[in-house]
């Protein structure tokens, strides 16, 4: 089965590859498991392009951004051939340094190629008729839960359809498992629940064309209200990234709601809890709600300073544009493919031993087509810090209601960005 699949992918790649063979060296900047997963695809890539030497440099997340921005500001000096770009930050690059990266259309990225990726992954990467980066992984949101804690409380995860169900279940689970929190949120340095629920409801900080502020639209208000309800119900205890992992391992949390890339983190960091974890779809505000959202995810862009743009593009096309490349990264490090066709790969349908035999990827990836775009715009980091401040104040009772809180956020974002607030 695997051999036929590889052959099919090979034939596909060969059919569309340029007639001449690529050669030379390409360098990629990336971070952590993302860098490791890129390294994992080199062997497969070199089977088709033996003369291209790929070097992946793991700089760390923040240094990659800082060094790339510095390189762009210096007119491309010192940049590698390929840079990993987080989708949320992507428009910072294009808006400040439109000439720093290559329009992938000039290297053979066609409209058909673009359609292989979902719309929500492409909104930040394509400006006008230019495509600055190819989508890589995405973060379809799911609820990762401890089977034993749920069972002890007699809660069937399949019965949790709405956030209200989630709150009710949380109270039961916390009562049945002393010392265990239903879930964790990073109230210190993030707004993940607000962003996940807003995105699920189709509301974002900015409108899809990036020209107006929509953070105080009714659906966002509903999302913020629900976050406070959960906090007030006592089912969320605060924990940052590291503490969440500690809680997972120590057995002091029953559920983590996060992007699909969290699968690899749980599986590798909490290896001892083998078989205890499971996955269900994120709850929604209403029983017939979409139960799908995206959180995080990255892309790869080719720098204008690259001396081997064709080879770099060939690598992108193999790693991100074929099932073989994407599934390799999923298998090794849990990076979620945004390539739609990877959904049909046999690996996705497999039950995984760590997850108690559940075919978690089938469930998680199945939500991808329902995810609506949430455009970051180049003002994302400004808006995010304002939303966090407002969220902190709102949760502490500083506003009469979520509408007042988000109205305040919208007017602050307007002052910071000069964009109008959508009425």
């Amino acid at each position: 089965m695997r051999i036929t699949m590889t052959c099919a992918a090979l034939a596909l790649a060969l059919g569309s590859a340029p007639a001449f063979a690529q050669s030379g060296e390409i360098t990629i900047w990336s971070w952590n498991v993302a860098a490791s997963s890129l390294k994992a695809t080199i062997a497969g890539f070199n089977k088709q392009f033996p003369d291209v030497k790929v070097t992946v440099q793991d700089l760390g997340n923040q240094p990659t951004y800082d060094k790339s921005i510095a390189g762009c500001a210096a007119g491309g000096v010192g940049l590698p051939d390929i840079v990993t770009v987080e989708n949320g930050e992507a428009e910072n690059y294009w808006s400040q340094f439109p000439d720093c990266f290559v329009d992938l259309h000039t290297l053979g990225y066609t409209a058909d190629d673009q359609k292989k990726f979902p719309d929500f992954k492409r909104t930040e990467l394509e400006v006008g008729d230019k495509a600055y980066a190819m989508p890589w992984d995405s973060g379809p949101v799911a609820a990762f839960y401890r089977r034993d804690f749920y069972e002890k409380a007699g809660v069937d995860p399949a019965s949790i359809k709405t956030w209200d169900d989630f709150i009710a279940a949380g109270k039961k689970i916390q009562a049945a498992n002393p010392g265990v929190s239903m879930t964790n949120a990073d109230f210190n340095g993030d707004s993940e629940f607000f962003r996940m629920i807003s995105n699920e409801q189709g509301c974002a900080y900015f409108s899809e064309d990036g020209q107006s502020i929509t953070v105080n639209q009714p659906k966002c208000v509903d999302a913020m209200t629900k976050v406070k309800e959960m906090k007030d119900a006592g089912i969320i205890s605060s924990a940052d990234w590291g503490t969440k992992i500690t809680n997972n391992t120590a057995g002091t949390v029953a559920t983590q709601v996060y992007g699909g890339w969290y699968e690899g983190t749980i599986r590798t960091e909490s290896a001892g809890e083998n078989g205890k974890w499971g996955v269900y779809l994120m709850p929604s505000l209403t029983a017939d709600g979409p139960r799908a959202a995206n959180l995080g995810g990255s892309s790869l862009a080719i720098t204008s300073a690259s001396k081997n743009k064709e080879a770099a593009y060939a690598y992108l096309k193999y790693t991100l544009g074929t099932n073989e490349g994407q599934i390799t990264m999923l298998k090794e490090f849990g990076l979620v493919p945004s390539l739609i066709s990877a959904l049909d790969d046999p690996y996705v349908a497999q039950g995984l031993p760590y997850w108690g035999g559940q075919a978690v990827w089938k469930d998680i990836l199945g939500t991808l087509p329902k995810v609506v775009p949430s455009r970051g715009t180049q003002f994302q980091s400004d808006a995010e810090i304002i939303v966090r401040a407002v969220q902190t104040k709102y949760l502490a009772g500083g506003y009469p209601d979520a509408k007042a809180a988000l109205d305040d956020a919208a007017s602050q974002i307007a002052a910071a960005t000069g964009l109008p607030v959508k009425s």
């Binding site: 921005i69 109230f187 210190n188 340095g189 205890s237 002091t252 180049q378 810090i385 401040a389 902190t392």
Partner: protein, 286 residues
């Protein structure tokens, strides 16, 4: 004479060139950039874009408020604490003085990143020793990182822990330079130890205390590492964001160099104003 000067300047040229390129030019350049709208390329001249925003920006006033709050609360507390430590260290009754001096000074030697990481662990909600201690004496645990007031207190505790001993050592040096015979005369006149402290030690120590204050105020104005590392970039929700963090965020996260430059110039102006006020307040009476 003029020739000699010319030679001197020729020798100075390498330094002056570097000074001009890496100091003078950035100072001028950032001043010019602060008048430009830098949100989108191409940058355009628009004086009110950044300066107008600064006047009404809640984030700026929040950062200013946080910085001043630390200045007004943490600095006096730390200097008082340092003074007490210095008096204790100076006591002739104290054994193993060298060891204590080292112990108080040691926090300065510890790397900022390392101590920030340890503070994060100690104050962790579920697993930190501080909350365990609070629980064990019957107090409720505190969610240090997710609420504004505890987070701010945490920053002040951390900065105080790090710098109180350093100031104590400076104050101790000042105390030891006060002549012994003044105290002897006071003791003969039956002046109590407490009165000796307030009427002899404190006035004679004033220049040293002012020096410590100036150092601490400059340090607070530039405070960056602790809110960046301990409370995760000024969290929760900007609750511990200082002016330094705001500048960094605007300049290097949002790539809004114009606004960052305006913030930088405001910070510099503020530092000059505070220093002048301080010099005026602590001037020697004529």
């Amino acid at each position: 004479m003029r020739n000699r000067n010319a030679t001197a300047y020729r020798f100075l040229t390498p330094y002056l060139l570097i000074f001009a390129i890496f100091w003078v030019w950035p100072i001028i350049s950032s001043f010019l950039i602060s008048f430009q709208a830098t949100r989108t390329v191409p940058w355009r001249f628009a004086p009110s874009f950044n300066w107008g925003r600064l006047i009404g920006d809640p984030a700026f006033f929040n950062a200013l408020k946080n910085t001043l709050l630390i200045l007004v609360i943490q600095v006096p507390v730390m200097i008082s604490l340092a003074l007490v430590m210095a008096v204790l260290l100076n006591s002739p009754l104290l054994k193993a003085r060298g060891l204590y001096r080292f112990a108080f000074f040691a926090p300065v030697v510890v790397g900022e990143v390392a101590y920030s990481a340890v503070f994060r662990l100690m104050f962790n909600l579920d697993f930190g020793i501080i909350n365990k201690l609070l629980n064990s004496v019957g107090l409720p645990r505190i969610d240090w990182f997710s609420n504004v007031t505890p987070a701010m207190a945490l920053i002040m505790i951390a900065v105080t822990w790090r710098w109180a001993g350093y100031n104590a050592i400076i104050l101790l040096a000042g105390m030891q330079s006060i002549p012994e015979d003044v105290y002897e005369a006071a003791t003969l006149d039956r002046v109590s130890k407490l009165k000796q402290f307030f009427y002899i030690t404190l006035p004679l120590l004033k220049p040293v205390i002012v020096f410590c204050l100036v150092l601490s105020i400059i340090g607070t104005m530039q405070l960056f590492t602790e809110p960046f590392l301990i409370t995760e970039r000024g969290g929760p929700g900007g609750g511990t964001e200082t002016l330094g963090l705001l500048l960094y965020r605007q300049g290097f996260r949002s790539l809004n160099f114009g606004y960052a430059s305006a913030v930088a110039y405001t910070m510099a102006g503020l530092a000059i104003a505070i220093t002048l006020a301080q010099l005026w307040l602590t001037r020697e009476p004529k």
